[in-house]
């Protein structure tokens, strides 16, 4: 199923809202150097808006389009962040597609929404290794804390996704989606 032009317009405007919410923890994010903290602080936003996007446009590609548009926008400031967004969204949707095949089930949407922030972590790690000369062990620090960060990211994204579903359910009842 092809995503229509009207749906792209909606996704682009939703991306604006997502970027505004994602900007809230940015000052904190820029000062933290531990791998994964960035995704942890953004996980709720990823969860909410990815879910809202996929609930309104129930087609694979909706979250990737959001990732692409937000990624292109972010690449104006920090190109790596943009690259992160795009690859993260795309891989999350591919994994969800392999498991579910369609967005008809809410769990398929939640899976994409939860995986998106987590899948941005490896790219950040690779970037830091290559360009900031910081080994993976330096970035991770205590492995238990790192695992905690990943679980925390998944949990917060899940909470965000739950909230996204709740809002979408209300809009669905009102006949708006």
């Amino acid at each position: 199923m092809k995503i229509t032009f009207r749906e792209i317009v909606f996704l682009a405007i939703l991306t604006v809202v997502y970027l505004l919410f994602a900007a809230i923890p940015v000052p904190l994010i820029m000062s933290v150097r531990r791998l994964g903290i960035q995704s942890l602080l953004e996980a709720v936003q990823y969860g909410i808006f990815a879910t809202l996007a996929a609930r309104r446009v129930r087609k694979y590609g909706s979250i990737s389009i959001m990732g692409l548009i937000s990624g292109l926008f972010l690449s104006f400031m920090v190109p790596v962040m943009g690259f992160n967004q795009i690859i993260g969204a795309l891989s999350a949707e591919i994994i969800s597609f392999l498991f579910f095949g369609s967005y008809q089930r809410k769990s398929a949407i939640s899976l994409s929404a939860c995986l998106w922030p987590v899948l941005t972590i490896p790219i950040s790690g690779i970037f830091n290794m290559v360009f900031q000369d910081r080994s993976l062990s330096q970035q991770i620090g205590n492995p238990l804390i790192f695992i905690g960060i990943i679980i925390g990211t998944l949990f917060l994204a899940y909470l965000g996704s739950k909230l996204g579903h709740k809002i979408s359910d209300e809009l669905e009842r009102a006949g708006k989606i």
Partner: protein, 224 residues
């Protein structure tokens, strides 16, 4: 977007920005890093990016200061200076890209065959920030008037904020899509370009100078 005197070709800006923010970061521990920064700064000044550079660094200044101080108290002077350098290079790397005019990026992308919806999405993001912010302010004011506070009733606050916001987004996107359709915009079919964005000598000189500086200093670092 911050307006530069005469921004260079969008693709050159993007390439330079990617190289600076990636390769530039590998040089922060080198002694010659201030010389590298100054060289980049001089090229920016020569090409009319002075104002943008000052604004970009001024924007990052509080972050540089806070993180520099944190690094100073936790790890000493050297780490503190390197932290400041990291922010500075990110600020400098952003200079050409934040000066790109969104429409020229879209036009240049269309010229190389990037689907028109990608450019359209990007333009919407640029244009709709103030509109969506205004909508959010209005919704927040309405919530405040009704006496709903986030810290007292987070669930009710979230519901009263997001649902009207999404309804507004829905109606804005519907109106925008309709108005674009009436102007014959569609995903299918060929569309002509109103203006083309071409490479000029100035673009080439800007790109060449900066790439030369980056490669020269990276090689200097590698030689050690």
């Amino acid at each position: 977007m911050i307006k530069a005197e005469k921004p260079v070709h969008p693709f050159i800006s993007l390439i330079v920005s990617v190289l600076l923010s990636s390769l530039g970061l590998t040089l922060v521990k080198e002694r010659f890093f201030p010389i590298f920064l100054s060289s980049v700064g001089i090229v920016y000044l020569l090409f009319g990016y002075g104002k943008v550079m000052v604004r970009s660094i001024a924007f990052l200044f509080p972050l540089i200061l806070i993180n520099g101080l944190i690094a100073y108290f936790s790890s000493g002077v050297q780490t503190s200076v390197q932290t400041a350098y990291r922010f500075l290079i990110l600020g400098l790397a952003a200079v050409p890209t934040i000066s790109i005019e969104p429409i020229s990026l879209v036009r240049a992308s269309r010229q190389i065959g990037v689907p028109s919806w990608v450019g359209m999405g990007l333009l919407i993001v640029f244009r709709f920030f103030p509109i969506i912010l205004e909508e959010m302010k209005k919704i927040h004011q309405a919530i405040k008037i009704r006496g709903i506070r986030f810290f007292k009733e987070p669930s009710l606050f979230t519901r009263s904020f997001f649902i009207p916001l999404l309804l507004r987004i829905n109606s804005i996107s519907e109106n925008l899509a309709k108005s674009m359709e009436t102007r014959a915009y569609s995903r299918e079919g060929q569309a002509s370009l109103y203006k083309t964005v071409d490479f000029g000598f100035r673009d080439f000189a800007f790109g060449f100078l900066l790439v030369f500086i980056i490669i020269y200093f990276v090689l200097q670092g590698a030689r050690k």
